[in-house]
Every structure is written in structure tokens, then in C-alpha cells.
Amino acid sequence: MQFFGGSDVSPSPPAPTAAGHNANVMYMFNRNGVCLFYREWNRPLRTLNPQQDHKLMFGLLFSLKSLTAKMDPTSGDKGNLGVPQLPGQGCSFHSFRTNTYKLSFMESPSGIKIILVTHPRTGDLREALKYIYSLYVEYVAKNPLYNPGTPVRCDLFDTNLDQYVRSIS
């Protein structure tokens, strides 16, 4: 199935219909790879347990970033492949698309990574991710009870995020 899963044989996911059925999953990582936040709205398939899933996602993003930094056709000096880079250094990426989902990615200067998985036909979500980051700043980073580097448990953030994500098309 791995190699023969061509796009014409596999069923493509149902097109986004009503509002709120567009986003599948959201992840948030800090720069150490700790999963600060994980939320799923629509995820019929789970192949791994949550810890492994988070680790694999962080690993994928890390490696894709070093790949894009190395592949960048516009800069001459790209350093070595796989050398860790600071947030904002080197050529990064903002999304990738497969036949079943689209993953949008944003990294803040402090190394907070926000990942939103949506339907493959979703448009550019860079502004949406910036808005989600501003929600994080407003309701999590400014929360005096929040301990940086620990998983986010904040009702206000959850409700506002749910509300906003439902509006993404």
C-alpha cells in the first residue's frame, strides 16, 4: 500500500462542507521539541500513540527545515546538511500538501512552532497561523499561572482557538 497508493486509487477525503470541518489537527511545539499543545477536530486515522506521533511530527519538521535550507536555490552559502539552525536562519518552508492533507507551519522567533493540518484544498494559511500565534501570546504567554515549557492548559485559549479555526475555509 505504501508504494501503490496512487492518488487515483485511494479515496480522497470528503471536501470541506460545513464550517468547522476543515481543520483536522493542530500541534504546537517549543524549541526543545516539547509538544505544548495538541488538539484534534477530525482525525479518523491514528497509526501511532500520541507521544510517538508528536515526536515523529517534530522530527519531520526539523528534517524538512534542514532540507529546505540546503536546497535553497537562491543562496550560495548554505552550510552543511543537518546542522541545527536558529529560528529565522536559513530558508524555511510554510506548507506542504499531500493527497489527503495540507500541513501549514509557522515558527516564531522564540522557536514556538505552530502546525495546522487541514483539508488539502485549503488556501494559504500563513495569516491564520499568525493569528493563532497572537492568541497564544494573548491567552497563554500573558497568563501569570502558565509555566513556560509545560503543556498549555488554558480554557480561554481553547475556546478562542476553536472559534477561530471553525472560521478557516
Binding site: 508504494f3 497508493g5 489537527v25 484534534e40 479518523p44 528534517s63 546538511l81 499531500t98 492533507y101
Partner: protein, 141 residues
């Protein structure tokens, strides 16, 4: 003038069998291109594992800050991917054309050994014509 920055072809086990650069700044050396190719092979496989729904067949398009990467996987697991400018059009069609050239001039070449690096003059020749900018623009019709 080529419509793409570079083209990679990797076999089903992630080994680079063809790499051609069409004038990007700081061309990659042989080692780096091999490593990038096998890294892409693994990222492609991992992206299938992380799919929220069934039937995922890997990354088709990666949008980076300064380039787009379009990937096409054939039924036998050979992956073709091109690096092009952000928002370049007709890349899926171009990948299909390159796949056709591969089947015609590489697979049908009696001296070609499967999964080994591609050294076929006719393939090189036809490829350099297929990636010309004006040719690629016509693919949209």
C-alpha cells in the same frame, strides 16, 4: 532557459539515480545531493504516517520561502522531484512528461540496469528540451 532549478530522480530505496542542476546559486556537490535525496525519501514516507485520514501517498508539493518542490511518485516507487520558483505553473504536467521520457529512453534502453544511476544520452537530450521555459508554458494548453 529552463523552467526549473533542478531535477532529482530517486529509486524505490531512496538512492539518487539522476540529478541535474539548471543554474541555481551554489550548486550542491555529489555527496550533498545524495543525502538530500535520501532525506526526501524518508520525509515522504513519514508524511504518509502522519496523515489524519487513510490513503495518503506522500508529499506532492512543498512550499518553501524561496522555492517550490513538486514531487511525483510512480507506481513502482521511483520518485521524481523538481525544484522551481514559488508559484511556477504546470509542474505536475512537466513531471508526467519527464516520467514519460524516463520510461521511453531509460527503461526501454537495453543497457540500463534497474535502480542504477541513469546515463542515457537520449534521455539527457530530450530532457533538456522538455524543461525549456517556452515548452513548459505550452503544457498548460
Amino acid at each position: 532557459m529552463a523552467a526549473i532549478c533542478s531535477l532529482f530522480i530517486i529509486n524505490k530505496s531512496g538512492g539518487l539515480i539522476f540529478y541535474k542542476d539548471y543554474g541555481s546559486a551554489g550548486r550542491m556537490d555529489t555527496n550533498d545531493s545524495l543525502r538530500v535525496a535520501s532525506l526526501w525519501h524518508s520525509m515522504h514516507a513519514i508524511s504518509q504516517q502522519l496523515s489524519p485520514t487513510v490513503g495518503c501517498s506522500g508529499i506532492e508539493l512543498l512550499e518553501a520561502d524561496t522555492f517550490d518542490l513538486h514531487c511525483f511518485q510512480s507506481l513502482t516507487g521511483t520518485k521524481f522531484f523538481v525544484v522551481c520558483e514559488p508559484g511556477a505553473l504546470h509542474m505536475e504536467a512537466l513531471l508526467k512528461v519527464i516520467y514519460e521520457l524516463y520510461t521511453d529512453y531509460v527503461l526501454k534502453n537495453p543497457f540500463y540496469e534497474m535502480e542504477m544511476p541513469i546515463r542515457c544520452e537520449l534521455f539527457d537530450l530530450n530532457l533538456s528540451q522538455a524543461v525549456q521555459k517556452d515548452r513548459v508554458a505550452l503544457l498548460g494548453r
